[in-house]
Symmetry: C2
Subunit: 317 residues, 2 copies
C-alpha cells in the first residue's frame, strides 16, 4: 500500500507536536513539513531558525520537552562565555543547539540554500520526514506594538510577548517564493494539515509566501486545520492575546472566523477541542466543518492518536 502523503504547515511548538504525531505513524505516512521561517534571526553571526529546529529536534527525539524548545540534556557553557564577551544572551542558545546554528550557517555561507541545509542537518539527526522551510528567501516577521515595530524575537523572547500586537508584517515577503520542494509537496499531498500553530505568527507567514496559498487553494487534497486555542486560551504563546488586541474573539469559533476571513475556502475542516464542543455549530456556520476531539497532544500517544484521527477524517471527506 502506498503511504499517505501528508503535508503539515507548522510553526514551532504546536507544529512540532502535530508533525511528530504523523511521524509516529511510521511507514504509513510520507511526511513533509512546511516550516515558518519568519521567526528566524541572526545571533552572534549565526543563522538561527527556531521553528525548523523545534520541529527537527522533536522528530529526532532529542527535543527538550520541559521547555518546548532546544535540545534535552543541554549544557550552557558557550552561552555563559558569550555573555562575558558582551554578546546578547536574552535568546538562550544551549551548546548542542549552538552546534546546529554553526553547522547551518557554514552551509549557508558556502552558498547552500536553507532548504538543502535543513535537509542535510535533518538527515544527520535521522529525521525521516522532509523538513521544508517555507522559502529559501529571507522573510522576517515584525510586530507593531505601543513601543513601535519590533523584530519578532525581540517581541516574543526578549519582551516575553507581553506587548499588545497592533499590526504584523513579514519583511521580505513580497519577493519570497515557495521552493520547488514546497510546491511539489503540496501538489502531491493526499492531505494537508494546518498544525495547531499561531495563525498570525506561524501560519500567516507561510501562507503569504508567493505560490503557497494559491497552490493550497488549487489542490484537491482536503485541508484540515487544528485549533491552537483550547478553552479560550492558547495551548502556548500569545495567540489568544493577539486575537484580543486585534479585536477578534479568542476561541475555537474565533479561529474559524479568522481562517474564513483571512483565507476564505482554505480549510475544509477545523479540529477543535472537546472542551470547545459547544462552539461546533458556530464554527460550522463559518463554512468550515468542525470536528471535535481531544487536541492536547503533549504525550506521544496523543500526538499519534490525533494524527491517525485526522487521516481517517481526511479519508472520509
Amino acid at each position: 500500500m502506498q503511504p499517505t502523503r501528508v503535508v503539515v504547515l507548522a510553526g514551532g511548538f504546536g507544529g512540532a507536536r502535530m508533525a511528530h504525531g504523523f511521524a509516529l505513524l511510521g511507514e504509513h505516512v510520507q511526511l513533509s513539513v512546511i516550516l515558518n521561517t519568519g521567526d528566524d534571526l541572526e545571533l552572534h553571526g549565526l543563522h538561527v531558525s527556531p521553528d525548523i529546529d523545534t520541529v527537527m529536534y522533536t522528530l529526532a527525539g532529542i527535543a527538550n520537552n520541559d521547555t518546548g524548545w532546544g535540545v534535552r540534556d543541554e549544557t550552557w557553557s558557550a552561552s555563559e562565555m558569550l555573555g562575558r564577551f558582551g554578546e546578547p544572551t536574552w535568546f538562550r542558545l544551549g551548546d548542542r543547539d549552538l552546534a546546529t546554528h554553526i553547522a547551518r550557517t557554514r552551509r549557508l555561507a558556502a552558498g547552500v540554500g536553507l532548504t538543502d541545509a535543513t535537509a542535510e542537518l535533518a538527515r544527520a539527526l535521522d529525521v525521516h520526514a522532509q523538513l521544508l522551510p517555507m522559502t529559501d528567501d529571507r522573510v522576517r516577521t515584525q510586530v507593531r506594538t505601543a513601543a513601535g515595530w519590533l523584530d519578532f524575537q525581540d517581541y516574543f523572547v526578549r519582551r516575553h510577548h507581553a506587548d499588545d500586537v497592533l499590526e504584523l508584517r513579514f519583511e521580505g515577503i513580497e519577493s519570497a517564493n515557495a521552493t520547488a520542494q514546497v510546491r511539489a509537496a503540496i501538489d502531491a499531498a493526499d492531505v494537508i494539515v494546518v498544525a495547531p500553530s499561531n495563525p498570525f505568527l506561524s501560519v500567516a507567514p507561510i501562507l503569504s509566501v508567493g505560490g503557497i496559498l494559491a497552490r493550497l487553494n488549487a489542490v484537491r487534497a482536503p485541508v484540515i486545520g487544528v485549533s491552537p486555542i483550547v478553552g479560550r486560551e492558547a495551548v502556548r504563546g500569545p495567540a489568544a492575546q493577539i486575537m484580543h488586541s486585534l479585536g477578534e474573539e479568542p476561541g475555537a469559533h474565533g479561529i474559524a472566523m479568522h481562517y474564513a476571513h483571512a483565507w476564505p475556502g482554505l480549510l475544509d475542516v477545523l479540529v477543535i477541542d472537546s472542551v470547545d464542543a459547544a462552539e461546533a455549530d458556530a464554527v460550522n456556520a463559518t463554512g468550515v466543518r468542525a470536528h471535535v476531539t481531544g487536541t492536547l497532544i503533549g504525550a506521544q500517544k496523543e500526538r499519534r492518536r490525533l494524527a491517525q484521527e485526522i487521516l481517517e477524517l481526511a479519508g472520509a471527506l
Copy 2:
C-alpha cells in the same frame, strides 16, 4: 616609578607561560605580547586563533593547565553535536572555547581587525596585558612533509606532528605587515623577550611579518630569548624533532646557532636551562650571551621568578 615596558614574542604553550610570568609582576610591568597567527585556522566557518587564545586564557586565569590549551571546566556538547552534523572534530573545540571563536568571528565579519577584536575579547576576560596579533593580515603556516605540503594544524593536531618537517612556508607573509600597535610596542619597549616558543613554527612567522625584524634590530632595548629546548628535548611540541629533520643540532647550542644564522644580531642573550649549563660556552661562541637558570615554568611561582630574573638581566645589560 614608570613600569618596565616588556614586549614578549610568543607562540602558544611556552609563550603563554612566559607572558604569564611578566603579567604576574603586576604594575611593575607594562606587558605587550606579540602573538603568532600563522597557526590560525577556519573551522566550522569560525576563525580560530590557537596561540592568541592560549595566551589569553592563561593570562585570564581560565586556562586548562592539564592540556595546555583550551579553557578549564570545559564541556564538549557542541563538539559532539557538530560531529553528528558531519563537521570535522579532529581539532577539538570545547563549548567555552567555541564562544571565543564565535565572538571573534562576529567581530571580524563586521569589519573589525584581528587586533581590535583580540583587544575586545581580552578586555572582556579582564586581561590587562596588550595582546597583539603579529599582523591583521592573513598568514598561514604550512609544513612540507613526505606527504606533501600540509596546513599547519593538519600537521600539528590531526597528524600529531609525527611527520618529519622538510620545509616551512608562511602563506601570505609577503603581504603581511606589522600593525601600528605592534610597531609602537616594539619602539617603546624597555626589554624584548623571545619566549621559549618553537623558533620554526612560532617565532619565525612573527619575525617574517613585514616591519617586525627590522624594527627589533633597530631598537636599543635588549632582546632576550629563552631556549625552548631543555636537555635536548623540547619542553613541549616538535622543536627538537624539526631541528633534527632540518639537519640542526637539537639543544641549547643548536638553538643559539639557529638564531645566530636565521636572525643574526637579534638576540643579545639566550637563557638556557641549568641542565644545559655545559653548553654555555658553545652558546657564547655563537655571539649570543648565555644566561643559565631554571627555565621550566609550569608553576606560577617559576614563571614569575624567571620573568623577574629576565628583567634584572636586562637592567644589567
